[in-house]
């Protein structure tokens, strides 16, 4: 596959205390796709992400970038980490400086770029996440959502090809979630590959091109959200199904099959549109 960007080949990882966090995982992330990683707490999502960025090294198997196994020496890691940007869940554990602008400059400065280029990148990254106006505010005066956006800007300023976010929606209110979704959409439209760990099935169903489901460190399923999230074993593991998928299924049981009529709603809005369109059709015919 020519568009394979990051691949896991039989990757296993055991923590020093003996806990197996990943067991024989093989998967491929394709360039330009949006991938949602689902799984219960402790299923191995964060461990998987730490492998994508080279912070953890598999105990068995290997991780590949464009088909070549990762090089774990200093230079190899420098290359990988400038290509794969990782945003952690808790903003207070990853913001170093009390100044927004300074913190965003941390990554590009580590890449050894010229100060002028760093300055430009910081401005661009803050613009991309809509935080330009808060650039000179101290970090401790920002809201939780704003801190999250600063974390994303800090990674964007390194201009990575892949953006990996660990539960970016956790702790955000609905309005902030919508804003963040808009930011992610814009980044995806610019060609960035995005991988997100989430517990929000409805978000994953509506947003992702592909979903990966992990179960106790093993890969349970990987594929299209519409197929994977309808599987019974996946629903058992995640404890639920996306609401839109459930409503679509129930409608088909009572004789209204949206799929037959050419509708494949993946979000609440798409579902409402499909139902409205169908009822208008019914009335006119």
């Amino acid at each position: 596959m020519s568009d394979a960007l990051l691949s896991f080949k039989d990757v296993s990882y055991r923590y020093p205390d003996g806990t197996t966090a990943l067991n024989n995982c093989s998967l491929t992330i394709r360039r330009g796709t949006r991938t949602a990683v689902l799984g219960a707490n402790g299923a191995g999502k964060t461990t998987m992400f730490l492998h994508l960025n080279g912070i953890l090294r598999p105990t068995d198997g290997h991780v590949q970038w464009e088909g070549t196994p990762l090089d774990y020496n200093r230079r190899g890691m420098r290359d990988l980490r400038s290509r794969v940007g990782l945003v952690f869940q808790n903003p207070d554990s990853q913001l170093f400086s009390a100044s927004v602008r300074e913190d965003v400059s941390f990554g590009p400065m580590n890449l050894g770029l010229e100060k002028e280029i760093v300055r430009e990148r910081v401005t661009e990254a803050l613009l991309a996440v809509g935080m330009t106006e808060s650039a000179d505010k101290p970090v401790h005066n920002l809201s939780y959502g704003q801190k999250k956006r600063v974390c994303i800007a800090g990674v964007l300023a390194m201009q990575p090809e892949v953006l990996v976010l660990d539960e970016p929606m956790a702790g955000l209110d609905a309005a902030m979630q919508t804003e963040l979704t808009v930011v992610l959409e814009r980044l995806h439209a610019s060609g960035m590959t995005i991988i997100i760990a989430t517990h929000d099935l409805d978000f994953a169903y509506g947003w992702a091109d592909e979903v990966i489901v992990l179960q106790s460190g093993e890969l349970l399923a990987h594929g299209l959200p519409a197929e994977i999230l309808q599987q019974e074993d996946v629903q058992d593991e995640l404890g639920a199904a996306p609401l839109v998928a459930e409503i679509t299924r129930t409608l088909s049981l009572i004789g209204i099959d949206l799929r037959d009529k050419g509708y494949l709603p993946r979000s609440k809005n798409e579902l409402l549109k499909a139902i409205t369109a169908l009822s208008i059709q019914e009335k006119t015919s």
Partner: protein, 248 residues
């Protein structure tokens, strides 16, 4: 928090930290070089006026920030001026106030006041992150500056966590009596120690993820027209020193 608030909102927030640092240094030299206590007090008054009138720090806030330091100074002055005299017989103790000592105390106090006013000028007009980047330009060791950066940032995370923990403990009657309060405090300290360790691990991972390999590097803030501000600070600072030295 008061210092923090002023540093970010004062009129001279966007003036080059190098200029403000230079003026602060000149102020300290002037206070130290002043021959008479009155001159040193004069230097302190000038610096105070510059901070309040120039940078627009509300006088009441200035006093509140200065109060702890002033109290400390007053106690030290008292202990310097008054000495305990032990007499020949047992129980013959008397407090002694020496006239010659008084002069020395006046000198030390007035210099300290000047130094305090100079430092308050810098602290109230310049956010700490700007001061750190100024020190970085002055080639202070990286390790020291990294520690300052991390301490300054984590101080707020720590205070937030402490606040949340105390609220959570109070919600479950953790501070209802003094004994419970002590027990809760102990629990909090134990819990915080573990958290500090976990957070340091998380910060290390985050630094690795952003390609860090040692010293923390940040972009220095860019301030417009700094040559003009710096020359202004140098001229006014030197004037202050010359006046302090030449006045009797």
């Amino acid at each position: 928090m008061l210092i923090e608030q002023s540093a970010y909102t004062n009129r001279w927030r966007r003036v080059s930290p190098a200029a403000k640092g230079t003026f602060c240094l000149c102020g300290m030299i002037a206070a130290y070089a002043a021959a008479a206590p009155t001159t040193a007090c004069g230097v302190a008054a000038v610096l105070c006026a510059v901070t309040v009138l120039g940078a627009g720090i509300p006088p009441m806030r200035y006093l509140r920030v200065a109060a702890p330091a002033l109290l400390f100074l007053a106690v030290s002055a008292l202990s310097l001026a008054v000495s305990l005299k032990i007499g020949a017989t047992v129980g013959d103790l008397s407090l002694h106030l020496a006239r010659t000592e008084l002069e020395r105390v006046a000198h030390v106090c007035s210099r300290s006041l000047g130094g305090l006013a100079a430092l308050l000028f810098l602290a109230l007009t310049t956010p700490l992150s700007d001061i750190i980047s100024l020190l970085r330009r002055c080639k202070l060791p990286d390790t020291l500056l990294d520690l300052m950066t991390l301490c300054y940032r984590t101080l707020f995370v720590l205070s937030e966590t402490v606040h949340e923990t105390i609220t959570a403990q109070s919600a479950r009657m953790g501070h209802a009596t003094i004994t419970r309060s002590l027990r809760s405090m102990g629990g909090m300290v134990a819990n915080l120690s573990v958290q500090v360790w976990q957070r340091s691990q998380a910060l290390h991972l985050a630094a690795l993820a952003r390609n860090n390999d040692g010293a923390l590097r940040f972009l220095e803030p860019d301030y417009p027209d700094s040559p003009r501000a710096i020359s202004l600070a140098v001229i006014s600072g030197l004037t202050l020193i010359i006046l302090a030295v030449s006045l009797p």
